[in-house]
Symmetry: C2
Subunit: 318 residues, 2 copies
C-alpha cells in the first residue's frame, strides 16, 4: 500500500513536536531526510540522537534545492512568512508542503510571500500537550489522519509526493480542500481547546477544595489546556472565521441548556445530543478505516472525487 | 492510618458501578459487607463472582438492622426516596450514608422522607464512563477523594463510621459541608459533563470528515459525554442551583473570548486563564496529599475545623 520507493528526499524546517517527529519517522524508516531548526540547542539534541540537522537555514535550503527535496514547513503559522521568503530566495523550485493546523491562512501567507511557490498543504492530526525535541516520537503519526490539500489546481505529481510522505510515517491520507479542512479543524480541534480552557478556568477558580476533588471528568476534559499557550493561540487565531462560527454554536447550545435547566429543570437536549455525537465518534474512531475507491489519480475530475470521498470520512491508502 | 478494626458491617443498596465496586472493595478487604439490587440479573452476576447479594430489599434491611450495619444508598438520586422509606420501615435505627454526587438534594430527600434518620452523607470522587456490575472494580476508590459530610450537627461516632468505610477502600477523606461540596462538584464534575457534551455535539454535527479527523483533543475532551445520559442528567439536574451558577460563568467567559477573537483577533485571556488553572490542578493532582493536622475529632468545634482544613484541599487519613 505505501510507496516508499517513490519517496523523494525530505527537508523539514522546524524540529518541534511535529517536525522533529517527522524527521525521526522518515529517517528511522530508511528515507533521506534532513532538518533545520533556528535553535542550536535543538539541533544539538537532534544530532546527538543521530539525525541530520542544521541551524543554517540558507545552507539547508540550498541542499534541498540540489536534492530536489520536498520542503516541509513545520513551524507555527506566525513564523512562516520569513521561512517562505527564504525558500523563494534559496530553493525557488522545490515542492513545498506544511504541517500547520490551519490551511487557508497558510495558503494566504504563501500566496502573499511567494506567489510562484509550488505548494500542496498538509496537516497531520497528531500531537500531545508536550512540545520540543524531547517530546518527539517517530511513531507519532502511525494510524493518524494526515490531511493533504486537494484543490482543482493541485497537480498529480505534487499531490502524490506529499501523500507519500504521510504514508511513509504510517498515517492515512485524507483529501480535503482548505476551507473544508479549516471548518472541520475548528469543530474538532480548535474549539475543543477553548472548551478545555474554560472548563479549567471555572473549575480552578472555585476553591482548593474543588481542585482537590477533581477527578476523571476534569482531568480528561482539561488536558489540552496544558498545551503551551502560544501554540494554542497560534492555531486558534489563525483559523478565526471558522472558530468564530463553531464557537457561536457552542455558546448558543450552552445558553439553551442553561435556560432549560433554569426553567424546566432538565438538560436532556444537550446531554442526549452530546451522547449521540460521542457514540458516532467512537464508531468512527474504533471502526475500520473505509478506503477511497475507484479513483484514478490524474483522471479528469480526480481532485473533486477525492474531496467527495474524503468528506464521507474515507481515507487514501494508495 | 486506616482503622479496619473499627469498621462495622456494611450494607450496600444498589450494585452499579459505585455500589458494586464498594461491595467488592470491602469484601475483598476482609470486611463484612452485603448488598441489594432490584435486578435479579445483577444479583446473579455478583453472587457468581462470590459476593453476598440479594434482590429482596426487606430481608436485606432486616439483616442490616440485626447486624447494626451502616447502610449505603448507592442508587441514582431520582430513585432514593422509596429506598429511604424502606429503611424507615425495616431498619429505622441504622446509620445511613450515600455515595451520590450531590449532597444538598440527598439531605432534603432524607429529611422529607424520614426526618428521624441518622444520616452522614458521602461522595467518592471516582467513576468511569462505563456502568453496571461488569464495570465494577474493587480498586476504583484507591487514592480517590471521598467527601464525608461534616455539619455542626454531625456526631463523632457516625462521622468516624462513615470515614472508616472510605478509608477501608483506600480513599482519602475530604470533610465538607453539603453546600460547599455541591459548588465544588458543579465546577469540577457536573459542568465538565456539559462542556464535554457541547464539544461532542458541535464537533459531531460538522461532517463525517470532521469525525474522521478528530484526534486527542476531541477524544479526551468528550470522553465523559459517553456516560449513560440518565446518570449524567440525574447528577446535573439534582445540583441545579450550583450548576446554573458555574454554567453562567462558563458562558460569560466564552462570550468574552468570542468577542475578543472577533474584535481583536486574540483568545489570549481565556487560553492563559485555562493554562494557569490546568497547571494549578496538575500541581494538586500530582503533588503529595496534605493531611489534616491538629484536630481532635470530638473536641469543641471539630466539625468547623475539619471543614476549614478541607476547604484548603487537605485530607483526613486518620
Amino acid at each position: 500500500m505505501t510507496t516508499p520507493a517513490a519517496l523523494r528526499p525530505v527537508c523539514v524546517l522546524g524540529l518541534g513536536l511535529i517536525g522533529g517527529s517527522l524527521l525521526r519517522a522518515l529517517h528511522d524508516g530508511g528515507h533521506e531526510a534532513f532538518g533545520y531548526n533556528r535553535s542550536a540547542t535543538t539541533v544539538a539534541e537532534a544530532t546527538a540522537d543521530g539525525y541530520d540537522a542544521s541551524d543554517d537555514l540558507t545552507a539547508t535550503l540550498r541542499r534541498a534545492a540540489a536534492a530536489d527535496a520536498v520542503v516541509v514547513l513545520a513551524t507555527p503559522v506566525t513564523t512562516l512568512a520569513p521561512l517562505v521568503q527564504a525558500v523563494a530566495d534559496h530553493a525557488p523550485d522545490v515542492l513545498l508542503t506544511d504541517v500547520v493546523s490551519v490551511k487557508q491562512s497558510v495558503a494566504t501567507i504563501i500566496a502573499e510571500t511567494y506567489p510562484g511557490a509550488r505548494f500542496v498543504g498538509g496537516h497531520p492530526m497528531a500531537g500531545t500537550s508536550r512540545s520540543g525535541w524531547t517530546a518527539t516520537d517517530p511513531n507519532l503519526f502511525r494510524d493518524a489522519m494526515w490531511v493533504v490539500m486537494t484543490e482543482d489546481s493541485t497537480t498529480v505529481d505534487d499531490w502524490l509526493a506529499v501523500a507519500a510522505i504521510a504514508r511513509a510515517t504510517g498515517a492515512a491520507v485524507v483529501p480535503a480542500a482548505a476551507d473544508a479542512h479549516d471548518r472541520a479543524a475548528a469543530a474538532i480541534s480548535h474549539v475543543p481547546h477553548l472548551t478545555a480552557a474554560v472548563t479549567a478556568a471555572v473549575g480552578g477558580g472555585e476553591s482548593d477544595l474543588a481542585l482537590r476533588l477533581a477527578a476523571g471528568s476534569f482531568r480528561d476534559g482539561t488536558r489540552v489546556a496544558g498545551t503551551a499557550p502560544a501554540l494554542q493561540r497560534a492555531m486558534i487565531e489563525a483559523n478565526r472565521i471558522a472558530v468564530l462560527n463553531a464557537l457561536s454554536e457552542i455558546i448558543d447550545r450552552l445558553v439553551n441548556a442553561r435556560d432549560d435547566l433554569r426553567d424546566t429543570g432538565t438538560v436532556e437536549v444537550l446531554i442526549d445530543d452530546g451522547h449521540r455525537a460521542r457514540q458516532a465518534y467512537a464508531a468512527v474512531a474504533n471502526g475500520p478505516m473505509e478506503p477511497i475507491v475507484d479513483v484514478e489519480i490524474g483522471a479528469a475530475g480526480w481532485q473533486e472525487e477525492l474531496r467527495r470521498q474524503g468528506h464521507l470520512g474515507r481515507v487514501w491508502l494508495g
